[in-house]
């Protein structure tokens, strides 16, 4: 069964996700730039980039409501970094809310400036029993989760990966590494949910 996965293609590290997904069998990738593109896909990645920029563009190009609608109706979505910020219902250090569909409170640039960006290897049992490399670039983390949200991984007590029904978020960027475990997990989740 072929699965169609979209990557929100407004700004940021889009092609990096595309290259990872194309390594996985039975996946067809669509770059989503307008609302019609949403009708073709069963899963969507909200990539890293600048959340203020992407948040503005989804509003200006009338993608916001269709996105909220699709996600509320069960479309599987994965937000990396800026994508996490877009999905959050609240940002603790910013008054803006973008899609506001996920019951998490997120802190932007939580680790500081670029000099505090870092990478590490972690085992996320939900995703793989092997350690995967993860990269944090001016990353956010989750300060608080609602009761329907499951924390998938914590670093120093801060949640950096979480899941709520059809929504997955990560503070880090698996797409900047050579390890496709997380993308495989995302594809598996889509297959499980649409069956």
């Amino acid at each position: 069964m072929k699965i169609n996965i979209g990557i929100l293609g407004l700004q940021g590290a889009i092609i990096e996700h595309q290259k990872m997904l194309e390594k996985i069998k039975d996946v067809k990738v669509y770059i989503v730039k307008r609302k019609e593109d949403l009708d073709k896909i069963q899963g969507l990645i909200l990539p890293g980039g600048e959340s203020t920029t992407i948040g503005k563009l989804i509003k200006d190009f009338n993608l916001k409501d269709p996105l909220i609608d699709k996600i509320k109706n069960g479309m599987i979505v994965w937000g990396t970094c800026a994508g996490m910020i877009l999905l959050a219902k609240k940002i603790s250090n910013d008054s803006k809310v973008h899609l506001g569909v996920m019951d998490i409170i997120v802190k932007r640039n939580a680790y500081g400036s670029q000099l505090n960006s870092f990478s590490t290897n972690i085992v996320i049992p939900e995703v793989s029993n092997k350690a995967i490399p993860v990269v944090f670039i001016r990353a956010p983390y989750i300060e608080k989760i609602g009761k329907n949200v499951e924390a998938l991984y914590k670093i120093n007590d801060k949640i950096v990966a979480a899941k709520q029904d059809n929504m997955i978020v990560t503070s880090f960027h698996p797409e900047l590494t050579n390890d496709i475990s997380f993308h495989k997990y995302f594809v598996k989740e889509i297959k499980r949910k649409i069956r």
Binding site: G9, G49, E50, T52, T53, D60, S113, Q114, L115, S117
Partner: protein, 290 residues
């Protein structure tokens, strides 16, 4: 290759498809962020004013940079002079996100660029061709931009630089191993980086357009020519309606392949920056850098 260098290249990847705007105070920085800039470049005078006023152009006052950093949540970049590694040390101490070792400021060294590998903070550098780009990457630059001709509002040099780079990369891809060795000598660039470009079919770092972008059409032109994103210097805050123009350029970079959107966003923007024809200028910034 160090982890920090990888992280620095990664930050540039997050800026792709975005617009980085020159700002000279906190208020402008907020306008830029609100308009959808992915980062701001903090400086005391935009290139058009440096050009007009003349004199020595240096790194900005740390106070200004701190104010701008405080005003926005997006990455903050700042410029230091070519070869002025102490200005770079100061900028690193200010904990900004990226340093631009820039030909727009008056060069401090006519032989050496900064040894960027000895810094933790990332650097972006200007280049006119592949050789220059690879020399900068060899010194530790984790992002490249065309030099264009800053402060003119004339796009011709940016176009020339981007076309030169892509055409050199295209030729390189078709070369044999021996030809690559010769080409690396011609370029004045290290062979290992030349080999890497031949394999990747592109630069190993993100490559933005800069220098002369004044309209949404200019920005989209550079994107269609293969830029990963766009720097706009004087083009925004030297125009009649900076907010409207800034927003329009952001949209033009995202929908660079969609003439209908480009037509829409280009409408009624008010006057663009006045602009100077590149053939009529006295000092050509693009010639700075070695």
């Amino acid at each position: 290759m160090s982890t920090q260098y990888e992280l620095n290249k990664n930050l540039a990847q997050m800026l792709k498809g975005g617009v980085i705007m020159d700002v000279t105070n906190a208020e402008q920085a907020k306008i830029a962020e609100e308009a959808g800039a992915v980062a701001v470049m903090a400086l005391e005078r935009v290139p058009a004013d440096i050009r007009k006023q003349g004199g020595v152009a240096r790194m900005s006052d740390p106070k200004l940079i701190k104010e701008i950093k405080k005003a926005v949540s997006i990455p903050v970049m700042a410029k230091c002079r070519i070869g002025h590694f102490v200005e770079a040390q100061i900028l690193e101490a200010l904990d900004i996100d990226y340093i631009d070792e820039s030909e727009v400021l008056t060069p401090a060294d006519d032989q050496y660029h900064i040894d960027k590998k000895s810094f933790k903070i990332p650097f972006v550098c200007g280049a006119r061709d592949l050789g220059e780009a690879l020399r900068r990457i060899n010194e530790g630059a984790s992002m490249i931009r065309t030099k264009g001709e800053a402060g003119t509002g004339d796009i011709i040099q940016a176009v020339r630089h981007m076309r030169t780079m892509t055409s050199q990369i295209r030729k390189l891809k078709a070369m044999t191993k021996e030809e690559r060795i010769l080409f690396s000598k011609e370029l004045g660039a290290p062979l290992n980086l030349v080999e890497q470009v031949a394999e990747l079919g592109k630069l190993p770092v993100v490559n933005f357009a800069a220098g002369g972008v004044a309209t949404p059409a200019d920005a989209a032109l550079m994107m269609q020519l293969g830029s990963d994103g766009v720097f706009v210097g004087s083009g925004i805050f030297k125009s009649k309606d900076p907010i409207k123009r800034a927003k329009a350029i952001v949209k033009a970079v995202t929908y660079f392949n969609d003439p209908k959107v480009l037509a829409e966003v280009s409408e009624d923007l008010g006057e663009a920056m006045v602009g100077i024809n590149c053939d009529e200028i006295n000092i050509s910034y693009e010639k700075r850098g070695w």
